[in-house]
């Protein structure tokens, strides 16, 4: 059970000044090392004394991990770049507005000033049973307290749940998937570049992690190719409190048109499963079709196929249907539809 304490438990604090030094420390500390980015997720764990790492490696002094850089094929964003910087950067604003919108939708201005994009995509699940330190599947136990007849599961998964029903709470993750971003990892075996989709892990593969990072691994930067620069973007986040909250559901799409027809599209949603979901079947369905309300409705219906609601989150099915519809058709054209029976 989580108990709020005045101070955090003691740990060794390392503040490396370079990427090389960071990697050396991560290698040395292994399982005992805890990576501290903006601290918004970490400090919850530490102050609740649910996670008690022996060593904390604070990345705030590593300049190589900060900033937005233009590359020959798009842009590269350091993992320690704050969400405010990402949202306000001219390159992001001009070419990748989708990411700016997603970053701007995260929490509050104060939090965005401190939170990093690397931390936002790597943050842990917010399921309160898990965050309270209960011995659930995600914590290494053998039960999911949320997926019970009386479990509080309003915010939980409707898709791809397997034993654990927690969701990924990142706002920038679906935008990065829609932009076909590449994540650059520093591992003991060298640099590894993977697609944004492959960075995330569902409970079917590993129930204790939301991403593929192993002890000693580090997400160093995110590369966004020029492929989708200047496309038609759509990002929408639904939350309980507009001023500051995690998503109940969010959607991000990038579309290019030929005439009024959809030539290319990437679309992803988050907070419906333990990993952000790229809706590949929806993309196939709508490619070549006019960007219209009808196409949006088709897409919305297909998107929720296979969704299994829990006791208190069946509202997520019509919500997802509506958001996907709006992401395809455009928010102006697609008004909210009330789906009876859901």
């Amino acid at each position: 059970m989580a108990v709020i304490h005045d101070v955090m438990p003691p740990f060794l604090l390392f503040q490396p000044a370079s990427l090389a030094e960071t990697q050396k420390l991560l290698e040395q500390q292994g399982q005992d090392g805890w990576i501290l980015a903006g601290g918004l997720d970490s400090f919850d764990w530490l102050k609740d004394r649910i996670r008690k790492p022996k060593a904390v490696i604070d990345l705030s002094g590593v300049q190589e991990l900060k900033g937005v850089r233009s590359t020959s094929d798009g842009i590269e964003i350091g993992a320690m770049t704050t969400l405010t910087e990402v949202a306000n950067h001219p390159l992001v604003q001009q070419k990748y507005r989708l990411l700016a919108d997603a970053a701007e939708a995260v929490a509050s201005p104060q939090i965005r000033n401190q939170a990093t994009i690397g931390g936002n995509v790597s943050q842990d699940a917010r399921c309160w049973y898990y965050r309270a330190g209960w011995p659930c599947y995600r914590a290494g136990g053998n039960i999911c307290y949320a997926d019970t007849p009386d479990g509080r599961n309003r915010e939980h998964a409707i898709l791809h749940a397997q034993r654990c029903v927690a969701v990924n709470p990142s706002d920038t993750a679906p935008a990065l998937i829609a932009l076909d971003a590449r994540f650059v990892l520093q591992t003991a075996n060298g640099e590894r570049v993977i697609s944004a989709e492959d960075y995330f892990v569902g409970p079917d593969i590993d129930i204790t992690r939301l991403n593929i990072l192993r002890p000693g691994d580090l997400l160093s930067s995110i590369r966004i190719p020029a492929t989708w620069a200047g496309a038609q973007f759509y990002f929408e986040k639904i939350r309980d409190r507009q001023v500051w909250d995690f998503p109940l559901l969010n959607v991000a799409s990038a579309i290019t048109l030929t005439g009024d027809r959809i030539e290319r599209i990437r679309i992803a949603v988050n907070a419906v499963a333990a990993r952000p979901l790229r809706l590949a079947s929806v993309e196939r369905l709508v490619t070549g079709k006019p960007r219209s309300l009808t196409t949006g409705e088709l897409a919305g219906n297909l998107a929720v196929k296979g969704a299994v609601p829990l006791q208190f989150n069946s509202y997520k099915i019509p919500l997802m249907r509506n958001l996907v519809k709006r992401a395809i058709a455009g928010g102006q054209e697609a008004t909210w539809t009330s789906y009876s029976g859901q």
Partner: protein, 288 residues
């Protein structure tokens, strides 16, 4: 080093949640160590097997060239069970040693196949096979003591030849029953905790403590099965045991092997499934 993993449940009680995963390596290494020691013993120290008693010439003459040992149904069950058991072990333990894949669905499907095949086997063995043939009898015990005493150099009579199954087979079968029924019984209840086509999920069917011990028993029996399966495969491919393995594929044993290791007075041969070319007259059934 704790062999069980413990946690504090929401009511503040300390409950077991599962076995410590290093037991996977312990089971595997123990099994490999056993087979290395056994192989070295057979290669360098074991002498020729010696048996007491002789078989009457008329009994010998009545043994067919191919002695039926396992019916097609029994063999099908064995290999179906083997496939499901290997699937269960791989899906259970590979993710724990770093090979990640979507294992839960495969695991409960394989568990269902195993459960169904074991239920079938229990019924089939109880009513259609010689149920007692696989259980140790008094002769087995007496002969096992003789073998042990001879191993330590004591002058006692040689053991008699085996009935249908050697005592080692019977012992292995007993161990598989204990471990297999443990994983099946606990596994059926554990299916209430995941989404399957069989039950409505009910993770509150038992208390956290009871669930925890169930997971512990499932895990202990599971790692036990790692050792048992490794040892079983090892014996299955050993040269002197190959006639037994072949009989589980083709259904029969050669007459020579039967006369060498088995006692026809203890194993009544009934050549019902011998191919037509080698089938013996009906009068040869119940030879003793």
């Amino acid at each position: 080093m704790d062999v069980l993993q413990w946690a504090i449940d929401p009511r503040g009680h300390s409950v077991p949640i599962h076995i410590a995963w290093f037991l996977i390596q312990v089971a595997f290494v123990s099994a490999v160590a056993f087979l290395i020691v056994h192989a070295a013993y057979i290669r360098f120290f074991a002498g020729e097997k010696q048996w007491s008693g002789t078989t009457a010439p008329e009994v010998v003459a009545a043994i067919p060239e191919r002695v039926p040992r396992h019916s097609l149904v029994a063999r099908t069950f064995h290999w179906l069970m083997a496939a499901s058991m290997l699937t269960l072990l791989f899906t259970a333990f590979l993710p724990k040693v770093g090979v990640e894949f979507d294992w839960v669905t495969l695991h409960w499907i394989a568990g269902t196949v195993l459960t169904a095949s074991v239920l079938f086997h229990i019924i089939h063995a109880s009513f259609w096979l010689d149920f007692w043939a696989i259980w140790p009898d008094k002769t087995d015990i007496v002969d096992a003591i003789r073998r042990l005493r001879r191993f330590f150099g004591q002058a006692v009579p040689a053991p008699r030849r085996f009935a249908k199954y050697p005592l080692e087979n019977k012992g292995f079968h007993g161990a598989i029953i204990a471990a297999g029924l443990s994983v099946i019984a606990t596994g059926v209840f554990m299916m209430f905790r995941v989404r399957t086509i069989f039950f409505t999920r009910n993770p509150y069917l038992f208390s956290d403590g009871t669930w925890g011990w169930m997971y512990v028993l499932h895990g202990l029996a599971g790692v036990g099965l790692i050792a048992l399966v490794v040892i079983h495969i090892y014996f299955g491919i050993r040269p002197e045991k190959r006639p037994i393995t072949k009989s589980m594929i083709f259904g029969w044993m050669s007459r020579d092997f039967v006369l060498k290791e088995h006692d026809p007075t203890r194993w009544v041969v009934t050549p019902v499934s011998v191919p037509p070319s080698t089938r013996e007259p009906e009068s040869l059934r119940n030879v003793s």
